[in-house]
Homo-oligomer: 230 residues x 2
DNA sequence: GTCTATAGTGGGATAGAC
DNA sequence: GTCTATCCCACTATAGAC
């Protein structure tokens, strides 16, 4: 009962808000593809959306804010794709590999945009930073996804380390993204190779932690990863 | 015989170039401290240096270019300080720890500035990126420094891995810098703790690679690190 | 080759009227 | 919610002084 029924979008205030917003987002998405983040101007976004510049800023406090949604959507799409990609895979290294390749598939069309995005997100106090308080929901969703990846794997390892593995994999993914945005090989093949080479090593190292002599090192590593949690 | 003798700086063209350049750099350094990178405007730098805006752009092609020198100086100062900090230390983990703390000491006054700087440098095609062709001399100087750190240590490890250890440490340092710029604890104490906790683990893992069962994993890791070299 | 003065472009962001 | 007008800044352009 809270809101009046939103039927004719243009006539009714509740629907109009959504409509305008959606028009701005749609225009931004087009221009982002056509010109990239730096080439896309807020003036042009507003013009193509059929609103004034000031109105665009009424809905989005900054250009950063406007494109933030595209990154969030990528994360959601990836979480879905990752679940599917893991089906039937039981070893940790196969599952991690599949999830990372799924990300590369989803992210490929956004390669240029994400290059600009990481630069924005790398700023220490940026709300776009994966470590920022504003990113807490997205970060926890990502950690939840990596937890599922680990939980579905058969690897034996120290319980301390196993509890921190999702965070370690999340951090590794961030590092891979940094590598990927600078990867100019066709289809970002170099990053695919990196994933294919590094995931077996991760798997082997995790397996090694179940050896008696390694338990101490594994626990220390777990403590370390835990201590850098945002 | 190529140039006329440079004697009185203000009167003679050879010296004037240096003098003007230095004035601009000095003004930039002051303003950077007072207002930070974003708050510092090129107009104000020129004004404080007593030159025209156009003249500032005559010497520095962009605002980025102007502040690039500060980062380079930090690197040079660190290389010197690192050498001193390593004197008398023989274990790998002590040496790495000392070098990282030396960096934290040198970088502390630039903490806010470097926050803006990493954002600029994180852009994929930025010449400021540590992976860019323009950064090749700086990158090789850094790798040479880490090579000295490794060479002065008594650690036994697989030769393959030992050859890649400098690059691995350089990459680790980059990761620590990323952590440090976002570290708002007084004196960036959290980063110091991270260094103190992580360096013994690095030392222990390296020692473990001399075990027979680990040689394969060590070689694979070496191959991986080698393959991501810029 | 070094430098000034001035005018201008274009883009992110904001103020305040309606 | 929406607009118009405006600000500020990085950066460019130019024409000429020394």
């Amino acid at each position: 009962m809270a809101t009046e029924m939103p039927s004719a979008a243009t006539k009714n205030p509740q629907g109009r808000r959504e409509t305008t917003r959606a028009a701005i987002v749609a225009a931004a998405e087009e221009l982002l593809r056509e010109r990239g983040y730096d080439g896309m101007t807020m003036r042009e976004v507003a013009q193509r959306a059929g609103v004034s510049l000031g109105n665009a800023y009424y809905y989005f406090s900054s250009k950063e804010d406007l494109v933030h949604g595209f990154y969030e959507r990528l994360q959601r799409d990836h979480a879905r794709a990752a679940e599917e990609a893991c089906l039937g895979l039981t070893t940790l290294h196969e599952r991690v590999r599949a999830v990372l390749h799924a990300w590369l598939d989803e992210a490929a069309p956004l390669h240029d945009f994400l290059g600009s995005y990481v630069s924005l997100a790398a700023a220490p106090h940026s709300p776009l930073s994966p470590f920022s308080p504003q990113s807490t929901p997205a970060r926890e969703a990502a950690l939840a996804m990596w937890t599922q990846v680990v939980d579905g794997a058969s690897a034996r390892t120290s319980t301390r380390l196993r509890a921190e593995l999702p965070r370690l994999l999340w951090l590794s993914h961030l590092a891979i993204v940094m590598f990927w945005v600078s990867d100019t090989t066709p289809g970002q093949q170099r990053t695919r190779d990196l994933v294919d080479k590094s995931t077996p090593i991760i798997g082997r190292l995790v397996r090694l932690t179940s050896l008696p002599g390694m338990a101490r090192a594994a626990d220390d590593l777990a403590t370390l990863v835990q201590s850098i949690a945002p």
